[in-house]
Symmetry: C2
Subunit: 334 residues, 2 copies
C-alpha cells in the first residue's frame, strides 16, 4: 500500500491495517493499543474517559438526523461504551467557503440539542473556513470527556479479554440493525422509503444498565463496518462467536434496501445501536433493561472456545461463517 | 450574511461575528462565553482544562514544520495558555483518498515527536477517508486535556477583566512576530527565503514562568489574526492598550515578505509566540524568564484607562491606532 484508499476508512480489514501498521507505529503507546472507543486515563486520583471523532457524513441532512446530530451522538456514545457518563463535549468545525448560514445553524442546534438532552454541553470549539473546493460542505469533530459509572469495572476490550475463560459470555444487541447505513443509501440513490437512521445518544440506556447492577465486560456501538466489524474485533480478542441469525432484528425496509443494492445488513452502519458482551448470569437482566428502550433488543449469541471467527447459525441448524467487512462501498457514512 | 465567507475563519472581526452571533447562540453556555483558549471545567474535585483545534494548513510541509507539528503545538499551546500542563492529546484525521502513505507517516511522526518532547502522548484517535476531491489532502483535529499549574490562579480572560483597575498591567511578547504566516506566504509564492515558522510547543516556557512564581493574568498564543487580534481582544475586555512599536521584534525576513506582498506583521500568524498580561510588579521577572527562551522577548506595552482600542507609539512619540484584522488574505494558515 503506497497511498490511503477509501477502504482505509471503512471500518473493516483495511482500516485495521492502516491503524495498526501506520498510526499505532507513529503514536506507539499502551493506552492507544487498548483499542477502546475512548481512552481510559489517570487524572488526579480519578479515571477520566477521553474520546474523539470526526464526521464527514454525506448527505448532511438525512431521514432521522443530520451531521450535527451524529457528531454529538458519536462522541457521547464512545464515552458511554466505556461504561462512563459523558460530561463535556468540544466541537471543531471545518466549513467550506459559501456554506449556507441557515444550514450551519440548523446543524449546530441539532448538535446542541442532543448534547442538552444527554445532560452535557459544548464547552470549547474551533472554526476553520477553507476555500471553495477544499472541503465538501462541512466536517465536524467532537471530542468528549466523561467519568466512569463504576470506577472499578469499566467496559473494555481488556476486561473482555481477561474475563474468566470458564464463564459463559453472552452477546446482546440493543436493537435492529442497519438503519443508519440503509437510510443514507436510500437518500443517496433517491429511493422513496420509510427508513430513518437509528442515530441516537446511548448514555441513558447505559446508565440504566449500570443502575440495574449490570457490568458489561465490553460494549461497542456498531458504526462503520456494522455489527460484523464489532463481532470480528471481539472474536480476534477472545476466540469464536456464534450468532443465531433469527435473533438479529432487521427491519423489512433495511432488508429491502440490502436486496435492492446488494448489501449485507450485518455490515451496514448504525449510529444508535450497540453490542454488549455480558456474563451469562447478568444477561437476562441486561436484556430486560435493553427492551425497555427497544423491543427489538435480543441476546444474539455467545463466545465459543472451539472455533475462531464469527459463525452464523440459522433456525434450520445450518451454519456459515461471516466474512470480516472489506473494501468501502459506503464512504462518508458518518 | 447568508453564507460563510473565508473571512469568517481569519481570526478577525468576521470570525468574531460568526462565533458570537451563530455558534454561541446555538451552544449557549457560560463556559463557552468565557472565550478562553480552552475550557476550565470541574472534574471531581479538580479543575480540568479541555481544548480542541482543527488544522487545515496548506502547504502541509513548510519551512520549520508541517501540519502534524502545528496540530500538536496548537492544542498543547491552548492548554499552556490557560496556565495549565498538557496531559493527553487526541488525534482525528480526515484524509483524502489517494493521499501518500509516506507523507501520512511523516506528518504523524512529527505530531508524535512534539507530543513526546512536551511529555505527553496521543491517547485516542479517529480516521476518516473521503473520496478524491472531498477534502484537500489531510485535515487534522487535536483535542487536549490538562491540569492547572496553580489551581487558584488560572490565566484567563475573566481574571484579566476583573484584576484591580488601580494596578498597572504590562503586556509582554515572547518573541519576534509573523514568522509562521510569512513562511507560509513565502512558500506559497515560491519566494526563496531564510524564513522559518516559529511553530513550537509553549508548555515549557509557561511552566518556567509558574516555577519562577509568576502568575500571568492572561496569556494567548498569537495565531490567526496575529498579535493584532490578541491585543484587540484584550482591549475590548479591559480598555485601551498602548504598544511601543520599537519593542515589538520583527525579523528582517518577515519585514521583507510584508513589504513585498503588502502585509502587516502585526496581523501575521504565529504558532509559537505568545502574549502575556502581567501585573507590573511581576513583569521584570517574567521578562527574565521569557528571555531565557528567546532573546527577542520584550515588554511591549501596557493597558491604559484613558482611551479605547490599540494604539501604537513610535520612538519619535507619534501615535497611531492599529486596526482590528478584517477580511482573510491568508486562508489555511493553520
Amino acid at each position: 500500500m503506497k497511498s490511503v484508499s477509501l477502504a482505509c476508512g471503512g471500518g473493516g480489514a483495511e482500516m485495521n491495517a492502516l491503524i495498526n501498521d501506520v498510526i499505532f507505529k507513529c503514536f506507539d503507546n499502551e493506552i492507544l493499543r487498548q483499542s477502546n472507543d475512548g481512552a481510559l486515563l489517570d487524572f488526579d486520583s480519578k479515571k477520566l474517559v477521553f474520546t474523539t471523532d470526526s464526521f464527514v457524513a454525506n448527505p448532511i441532512f438525512f431521514a432521522g438526523g443530520d451531521i450535527g446530530k451524529i457528531a454529538a451522538c458519536g462522541s457521547i456514545n464512545d464515552i458511554a461504551m466505556m461504561g462512563a457518563k459523558p460530561l463535556y463535549l468540544s466541537c471543531a468545525l471545518i466549513i467550506e467557503e459559501g456554506f449556507e448560514l441557515a444550514n450551519l445553524e440548523r446543524i449546530l442546534c441539532s448538535l446542541a440539542s442532543v448534547a442538552k438532552d444527554a445532560g452535557l454541553c459544548v464547552v470549547c470549539g474551533d472554526t476553520k473556513v477553507v476555500p471553495k473546493g477544499a472541503c465538501d460542505g462541512i466536517f465536524i469533530n467532537t471530542s468528549g470527556v466523561g467519568s466512569l459509572l463504576d470506577e472499578s469495572l469499566p467496559a473494555s476490550i481488556k476486561r473482555l479479554k481477561s474475563a474468566n475463560p470458564e464463564k459463559k459470555i453472552k452477546i446482546l444487541l440493543s436493537g435492529d440493525i442497519g438503519r443508519h447505513g440503509a437510510a443514507l443509501l436510500a437518500s443517496r440513490h433517491g429511493l422513496q422509503s420509510l427508513l430513518s437512521s437509528d442515530c441516537a445518544a446511548l448514555n441513558t440506556v447505559v446508565e440504566s444498565l449500570y443502575d440495574a447492577g449490570i457490568r458489561p465486560l465490553a460494549m461497542r456501538d456498531a458504526t462503520r463496518g456494522g455489527l460484523s466489524a464489532v463481532l470480528h474485533e471481539w472474536a480476534r480478542v477472545r476466540g469464536g462467536i456464534e450468532v443465531c441469525e433469527e435473533k438479529v432484528a432487521v427491519s423489512a425496509e433495511v432488508m429491502g434496501v440490502c436486496e435492492l443494492l446488494g448489501f449485507e445488513a450485518y455490515e451496514l452502519a448504525n449510529e444508535g445501536t450497540f453490542v454488549l458482551a455480558v456474563s451469562e448470569d447478568e444477561s437476562q437482566n441486561a436484556l430486560k433493561v435493553l427492551k425497555e428502550f427497544n423491543l427489538a433488543a435480543n441476546i444474539i449469541g455467545e463466545f465459543c472456545a472451539d472455533f475462531k471467527g464469527v459463525r452464523l447459525k440459522n433456525i434450520y441448524g445450518s451454519k456459515r461463517f461471516l466474512d470480516e467487512p472489506k473494501g468501502e462501498l459506503l464512504p462518508r457514512i458518518c
